[in-house]
Structure formats: structure tokens, C-alpha cells
Amino acid sequence: MSYISTPGVSPPIIASEASSDINSVAVVLTANVVYLYAFELQAPISIASVRWGMGATVTGTTNMGIYTAAGNLVAGSDTTAKTNVASSANINTYGTAVYLPPGQYYLAIACSNATDTYNGKTLSIAFSTSRHRRGANALAAGALPSTLGAISTTTITLGVAAVPVGGLV
């Protein structure tokens, strides 16, 4: 019997909107900790860029990347250490778009210091009721770890995004 599946529609942006659509740009991170935002894909896409929002204080660098649900770094997704730009959306455009087949992933972000201020929210309790988590393995020598290690809840929820090829400007 013939069969045709109904594919999912590619998203124009993958974003932690609950944390980014607020007027809060004072969240500080624990240095080198990899913070995560879980997302899923119904259709294959190629990620053209990743983005994060910065507040007024910037002296360090940010790495962003993408991990599989199993906690493995997707090849070519580590932005390497990017100097933070104050009070703006920071955008890293990949030289080669990062291909992602349908599946579950983590959008990852880590800062080199504990003083730079980010767009996001700091919660009083590390709830497990959202898509935000953190990995056990740390940023080192300006590179994201190849695996996340144990994943746990966090009080830090950051405004991060990934934009597919042909997605939002």
C-alpha cells in the first residue's frame, strides 16, 4: 500500500522566547558552565546563525553550539569564543550552515566569565518545567566540550536563538 507522510514545516527561528522577550539584560552566568535550551525538529534544516542577547557589561566571550539529545556536540556548531558586544543581539553566522536532521537537540551557550550580563531571567528555584537545562562538562580553552555529561536543571534561563537558512533576519 502506498504511503506518504506529512512532513513538519521548518521553523523560521528556534528561540527561547519566554526568556528573550523580556526587558531583562542583567543575568550573569557561572563561568564556563554550558547552559542549554532544548528544541525539536520535524524536518531537516540547516542552521545559518545562532544569537544571544547581551546587557551593558561585557568583558568576556561567548561560545554557542548545538548538541544532540544524547549530549554530543554537533560537528561544526561550536562558534568558538566570540567577544561579547554590549547591549545588542550578538549574532554568529556560520561559515558553513550546520545541517540538522529531524530530532531533539540542545542549543548551548557558555560564557568565559561570571560578570558579563545577558538577556534572560534568573529564577529563584531550578524548576524542571521548562526547556532550560545545564550540562556537567565545562567550556575549556575557548571550546565547548564534545559531550555534555550529566544534564540538570538550572535557575538561569537565557534568551538564545538559532536561525535556519532562509529563516528570520
Binding site: M1, T6, P7, S10, A43, P44, Y99, V165
Partner: protein, 193 residues
Amino acid sequence: MSFTATPLDGSSPTPIPMPSVVPDGAGTVVALEGGPVYSGDVSGNKAPVSVWTKDGNFVTFGAEADTAATTDTGTFTFMAFFKRLLQGITTGNANTATIVPGIQGWIAASGTGTATTDDAITFANQVRKVVLYNAATVPVPFEFDAVAAATSFPIQPGQYMVFDDVLCTAVHVFPSATLPINTTAGLYVKGWK
């Protein structure tokens, strides 16, 4: 040339000479081969004689070494026509999907997905069932055994299609960008008889 004695039937006291022949090129006289008693004979005392015709002596039938006929209606020997028939069956077995389709042993499809051109992804044999999965990030227009164009029916990114009873030998695609075939980030094309 000298000949051996005529074979006798072994009866006693006077053996009777048997019908015999001399094989070509030999001096030995041997008895003719006979079949069993002809069952249709009421008396039960008649038997047929084996017949042998030298290869090629039956002009219409032909010889063992005759080459296959090149047309269905030309002037050829029976042997030549028969070889042509066998060739047709062999070709048919290779190109025609089996009557009962199965899911084991998919037929490989190969080809190159060159951007903005009609690309034939060809199966090793004709297939009845085709499975397509688009792991690319763009829609891929396609056709079965026909030239594909940008306006052909597309398979969407992430879409999975199974077609039965297509009886095709090639899936044609018209990708907007270079399209890997049967590998990561590309179009997967599998076929079954």
C-alpha cells in the same frame, strides 16, 4: 576397411543376426537400439527404433552452434529462434518486477543530484515498490521514468513516501541545489521488486 561380425541375438541352437549398423568412421558393427514393446500394439511384439540425426543435418531445425536469431520473423533455424527466446526471458527476468513483491533485498539506485538539471537516479533493475525520503533541507521535484523539471511534484524536506506498483527503472529529480543521493542531507531512494 574391415568390419566386425554382425551381432547375434544369442538364441539357441541357431543365433539370429540382429539388425545392425556401422557407426560413422568405425569398423565395428553394432546392433540397432530399440525401444520397449509398443504398448499400443495388440500382439505385443513390436518395438520402435531410436532415431538420431547428425547435428546440423536437419536444416530447418539447425545446429547446436547456431547463433541466436536477430529478429522474431526473419529466416533462421529453430535453434536460432529458441536461443533468441531464451535471451528474451533472461532480459525479462532482469527488467521486470516479480509478480509477488517483497520487502527484502532492496534494489540499489544510483545517480548524481546535480543542481538545476534533470538527474536520473537509476535502479539496477526495474522495481515495483519505491521508497523516497528527503533528508535535504529543500523540496525535491521528481518523476518516475520521465524527465523532471522544477515544476514536477515535489517531496518536501523530511517527507517520506512509499509508492507501490510503480514499475519504474529510474527516479528523476530536479534539485534546486546539489543533492546527495542515499546519504546524509540528501535524498534516499530505495526500490524493491
